[in-house]
Assembly symmetry: C2
Homo-oligomer: 214 residues x 2
């Protein structure tokens, strides 16, 4: 009987080892792991550009959008704006209608081309990136007294280290006064507006503005 | 000594159980698991709409694109076209410059809005979806003798069961004759064209057409 101890023990240990190998987690299918989508700042407080933002969730695209009636486009130079969000934040929005901390929205500008290949009219996106900005919710770093809702804007015009827009920049007041949900322009994201509507997370300012319009 | 058998055995079994719990695979972060992005056909051969295509990888957007100089837009009714691809196929394209079997490209049309909220000019995407098509590479189901490269087109105008475009439809010849890589219009996808160029997977027809243009 004592001779059976190691056999049983080894059998059970083997089972444990097998369990480890068998259920090893699969490699993430689509995008980088969760921790890859955490914001990274350098010593100067600059936000590092999320390298994989084109693998994030697409929200929408605008063309030549402008907020003043007299806005002048450079003649013949149309451009597109694409918006992406990190997948963790997107998942959270589906169930809550608002954004969790560490949400990053990336606004990517692209020059529009018109005549090329078989295309004869209308516009498509060219390889020329005309701008890159990130809107990030980081409530500890950006206190709500200065940064509405704990959100800050960074510009990446000069490379992969984003420069912070100071709180006096127009973007902060405009997003605070007109954006539909949590200081973000959900009214321009066709798959998110119905969610914010049904979850009752539309801002009072936006609702008042829409009521006045109709 | 015999009394220690069950203790050791239980300990090792507990270890095995712990191993199972400890390394349980995390829920997929971004999109559904790989098998969710496999095409599903019904008994009539209709392709099921991939329900989560808005979580796939975004390729690009066009506005009012047309392939004939005289193409008529409905007055004041501009529209956008967004293109998405399943993440597995996108990953494969990054390393090969071409598409694997079971690739699905989704073309989503959306009506353009102009004046709304703070927007005064230009266009943004509305909630109204104007069309939905899938271009799928399924070489066993769609033999290359009839379907160029093993690709077929499905229309989802009537719901979630896609109707197959027959091989005589214009889309097949146009894609075969003019698309930059593997019968897909990679020339309109700014992040993919450089990859196909460097991997030398651009089609002879496209290269000849571009050479004639310049």
């Amino acid at each position: 009987m004592p001779k059976r101890i190691p056999a049983l023990f080894l059998f059970a240990l083997g089972l444990a080892a097998l369990a480890f190998v068998w259920v090893a987690p699969p490699a993430p299918l689509n995008v980088h792991a969760a921790q890859d989508n955490q914001p990274v700042y350098n010593a100067k407080g600059q936000l590092q550009l999320p390298a994989n933002y084109r693998e994030w969730i697409y929200l929408s695209t605008g063309m030549d959008m402008n907020y003043t009636p007299s806005a002048s486009q450079v003649a013949g130079q149309s451009s597109f704006d694409n918006v992406f969000v990190n997948p963790e934040a997107w998942r959270s929005f589906q169930s809550t209608g608002t954004w969790p901390d560490k949400t990053m929205l990336v606004l990517e500008g692209r020059r529009a081309s018109s005549v090329g290949s078989i295309n004869r009219s209308g516009h498509y996106q060219s390889a020329i990136r005309t701008g890159l900005e990130v809107h990030i919710k980081d409530t500890k770093r950006f206190p709500a007294e200065q940064y509405p809702g704990g959100w800050a804007f960074f510009s990446f015009d000069d490379g992969n280290d984003g420069s912070l827009f100071l709180p006096r920049a127009d973007c902060y007041t405009c997003h605070q006064q007109h954006a539909a949900a949590d200081t973000t322009f959900v009214q321009f994201y066709p798959t998110l507006l119905p969610i914010a509507t049904s979850k009752h997370t539309l801002s009072a300012a936006y609702l008042a503005e829409e009521a006045a319009r109709h």
